[in-house]
């Protein structure tokens, strides 16, 4: 506790507070710009370490990290243009809410959810950092494969009304995920070196969401008179709070452990959180049309996972994300040796960082909450100009992933695909899941099988994997029993059909 107080003292000096502020604002800005993630922002800020002290730099970096995780939700909600792969799920419900004039509420629940998750996550860090053993490294490829399989199966049980369309989307996503040479073999690269690293998920998501929608709106503009999106209430109502707080907590519970696991990442918990909220919601009919739970849960999950990432970083010196790796190299440039001894050698620095995370989190809320209604007014821009702006952001985002014009070609091609998917009522979520999870699952499976020299029994050789398979079995059994009990019951109308209707009507 004393160490923590000292940490706060160090983080709360005027200079460091200024750096925290700067970091948060910068982070939000790069989060808002699609394509430029916190990792790239930190890399570009690395030269700062030449001129400021280690505590100020690390505090600023913490601000950039949290700010970036939060900022990604803003464009997801307002412009349907996710900035990072971890805020893709937010766009699904968030943008629908914005269209209904509830952008301010969506932004607010994202901001407060991020704050809640970030705070709980940081407190968990305080508690766990001095104690945690090397538990997180015990999980190997078999366990990760099982976890990914769980996410995968959970998604397929929620494909929507038309299983056929759902599977079409899923397999399209898996096919896109195949592109590249990650396995050592060139697949679907057509001899093009620019495709060797695969297709970036940000490019796919921005294309399918933003460009596809812009094309769709353009195709229907002439038939319908222009209408402006209603502005609605500026603040969250009582009902919004009631429907948000549980998803925030559940999202945090998904996000933190996944973040702490070396191969966990922020995407899987956002999917799991979304699907859980959809199942548990008292308003399942609103999903796909702007359910606040679908924003609150995933946003909490991705911020909690950001906090979780710092656990292996501080206790074991293990960077599990690109952003964490760059924070480590910043430490190295001060001659500070990251690793398991960091906490023993540099307790002041570690606790200053942990304290500054809370400060960054609070600053984010203070800065962003009042801005939510202002951002929401952005949507009053008449539609042609608004979509021109969205296209601009989409191109900027796709281009800044690799700084290659080639990605713009990809963006437009997938934009046409997104348009076609809207036209034929093919749901978007399974495709995105396929693109993100497919390659990850494959990588874990190949790693597991390569280590075991092809012996399949390795897949259930770890206790965590066995537990997860049992959960999967229960899940499948529940689906089967439900199916048997009411075989003739009409399935609820899925989001994609509604989606199409809604879009056509506009």
């Amino acid at each position: 506790m004393d160490l923590l107080l000292e940490g706060f003292q160090q983080a709360l000096t005027p200079t460091n507070l200024l750096f925290a502020c700067l970091g948060v604002i910068l982070g939000t800005a790069v989060g808002v710009l699609p394509g430029i993630g916190p990792a790239m922002a930190l890399a570009l800020l690395l030269p700062v370490t030449y001129s400021v002290g280690p505590d100020s730099a690390i505090i600023m970096f913490a601000g950039v990290y949290y700010g970036g995780m939060y900022g990604g939700s803003t464009t997801s909600i307002l412009l349907n243009t996710p900035g990072e792969s971890s805020s893709v799920v937010t766009a699904i419900e968030g943008n629908k809410m914005a269209k209904k004039g509830r952008a301010a509420q969506a932004l607010a629940t994202a901001a407060i959810g991020s704050f809640v998750a970030g705070t709980i996550g940081t407190v968990l860090l305080w508690i766990l950092t001095p104690r945690v053993s090397d538990l997180v490294v015990k999980l190997g490829a078999p366990s990760y494969f099982a976890l990914m399989l769980l996410a995968f199966i959970a998604v397929t049980t929620a494909l929507g009304s038309s299983k056929l369309r759902g599977f079409i989307a899923l397999f399209l996503g898996l096919a896109i995920g195949l592109v590249g040479t990650q396995t050592g073999q060139a697949r679907l690269t057509f001899g093009e070196a620019k495709l060797a690293d695969g297709i970036d998920i940000v490019v796919v998501a921005v294309a399918i969401f933003a460009v596809g929608e812009a094309l769709w709106v353009a195709a229907h503009l002439r038939r319908k008179p222009l209408e402006i999106i209603p502005v609605g209430q500026p603040w969250m109502g009582r009902e919004d709070w009631k429907r948000s707080w549980k998803p925030w907590l559940r999202g945090t519970a998904f996000g933190f452990p996944f973040g702490a696991l070396p191969a966990g990442g922020a995407e899987v918990p956002t999917f799991l959180s979304y699907l859980t909220e959809k199942k548990l919601s008292k308003h399942p009919e609103e999903f796909g049309k702007g359910a606040i739970e679908g924003v609150a849960g995933p946003e909490a999950a991705n911020n909690a996972s950001a906090a979780g990432t710092l656990l292996p970083l501080l206790t074991l010196g293990l960077p599990t994300t690109a952003t964490a790796a760059i924070m480590l190299s910043a430490l190295t440039s001060y001659g500070i040796q990251p690793g398991p001894l960091l906490l023993d050698n540099e307790p002041g620095l570690v606790w200053a960082l942990l304290a500054s995370l809370i400060i960054a989190n609070a600053l984010l809320l203070v800065i962003n909450l009042p801005l939510a209604p202002l951002w929401a007014k952005l949507l009053r821009i008449p539609r042609p100009q608004l979509y021109a702006g969205i296209l601009f952001f989409a191109c900027l985002g796709a281009y800044s992933v690799n700084f290659q014009a080639f990605d713009l070609v990809l963006l437009l091609s997938f934009g046409v695909l997104g348009f076609a998917m809207r036209r034929f009522g093919v749901p978007v979520l399974p495709l995105i899941v396929g693109v993100i999870l497919g390659p990850k699952m494959e990588a874990q499976l190949t790693e597991a099988l390569a280590i075991s020299s092809g012996d399949v029994s390795t897949l259930w050789s770890e206790p965590v994997a066995v537990v997860v398979y049992v959960v999967i079995a229960i899940l499948l059994a529940a689906v089967a029993v439900n199916g048997l009990r009411r075989p003739a019951a009409p399935e609820p109308i899925g989001p994609e059909v509604e989606d199409e209707k809604e879009l056509v009507e506009r």
């Binding site: 570009l44 490294v137 070196a193 960077p319 790796a325 440039s333």
Partner: protein, 327 residues
């Protein structure tokens, strides 16, 4: 309606202009001391080539050896995309590219025609040794233990590295295996996404041995969680209590090096100018600091020496990868 469509077109035009300016070419003035140069970096910001390239640029700029440098990260296929662009800019007199062993390997695994020997060699800047790492509880106490078990049953030793096939961490175990009479095709190599995941796999004892540059593991090595069996360079590494491979009786010296290339087809004067420039850079205090801060070993070489080295590396990498059926 027409007005709004005009606006949309205008917005599209703005996007195009912005995009085009991003790929724009900066023309240098005639005064060489005030020239603007471009440097290409073949991986993302924060990576090894990026740190090396930007440290060199910083040393050049701060000492007014050149005018401003325009640094761009050209990402794709572990450097192949950048090499292709270097080849395409044949004759460009304002461009250099930071590259290294990993790029040489990537060019072959991606079956690209932009091989390093086609470019104009300028300078080799630094090298890093590879280390052979095992977890604390590993039965392997010396490199001989490892080699004996490995020769006995290549399948019983899973080797992990932080680079994809063709990268330094992959080439090193393959050349090591070949040196101790193990068929590289029998080596069980698992590629991890950099030092972090590799450390996790080693600490969790998912693999028997890790082969990688040691910079990212200093914490675990100091702590005793990981043990270094041998280092791959000419001389022992300061602060690491492990023999070199040659000391342990294995005739292999392997380093992961980084250097600078220029496009093919530039004039001799231009080549000499660039060589002089990097020679001057090598003498600056900023560069010495960068070497010390990052634990890089100075291995400066230019001109014919570097050209010969590049050729030797090129054919060695090509042979290794061909034997593995990867090129």
């Amino acid at each position: 309606m027409h007005r709004s469509r005009l606006l949309a077109v205008l917005a599209a035009a703005v996007v195009l202009v912005l995009v085009a300016s991003g790929c724009g070419v900066t023309r240098g003035s005639d005064d060489p001391s005030n020239r603007r140069l471009r440097m290409m970096i073949p991986n993302s910001a924060g990576g090894g080539y990026d740190l090396t390239g930007r440290a060199a640029v910083r040393a050049l700029e701060e000492n007014d050896l050149t005018g401003r440098f325009e640094v761009s990260n050209v990402i794709g296929a572990s450097g192949t995309v950048a090499m292709q662009r270097l080849l395409n800019e044949e004759g460009a007199d304002d461009l250099v590219m930071t590259m290294g062993l990993g790029v040489v390997g990537a060019v072959y695994t991606n079956k690209s025609e932009a091989t390093p020997t086609r470019m104009t060699p300028i300078a080799r800047l630094i090298e890093e040794q590879e280390g052979v790492l095992v977890p604390a509880d590993s039965p392997f106490k010396t490199i001989d233990d490892l080699v004996a078990a490995w020769q006995d049953d290549p399948d019983s030793v899973t080797v992990g590295g932080g680079s994809s096939p063709g990268g330094p961490d992959h080439l090193f175990p393959m050349q090591l295996a070949a040196e101790v009479a193990i068929d590289p095709n029998d080596v069980k190599y698992i590629s991890y996404d950099g030092g972090g995941p590799l450390t996790a796999a080693l600490l969790g004892e998912k693999i028997e041995v890790g082969m990688s540059g040691l910079g990212e593991f200093s914490g675990q090595i100091a702590n005793g969680d990981l043990r270094v069996l041998a280092v791959s360079g000419d001389e022992r590494l300061e602060g690491i209590d492990a023999p070199t491979l040659t000391e342990a009786g294995i005739d292999l010296v392997f380093t992961n090096w980084r250097g600078v290339l220029a496009p093919p087809g530039i004039s001799d004067e231009q080549r000499d100018y660039l060589i002089d420039l990097f020679t001057d850079m090598h003498d600056t205090d900023e560069w010495r600091e960068a070497l010390a801060d990052n634990g890089w070993i100075d291995s400066f070489a230019t001109g014919d020496e570097f050209a010969a080295f590049l050729k030797e590396q090129d054919s060695r990498v090509a042979d290794t990868l061909e034997e593995l059926g990867l090129s």
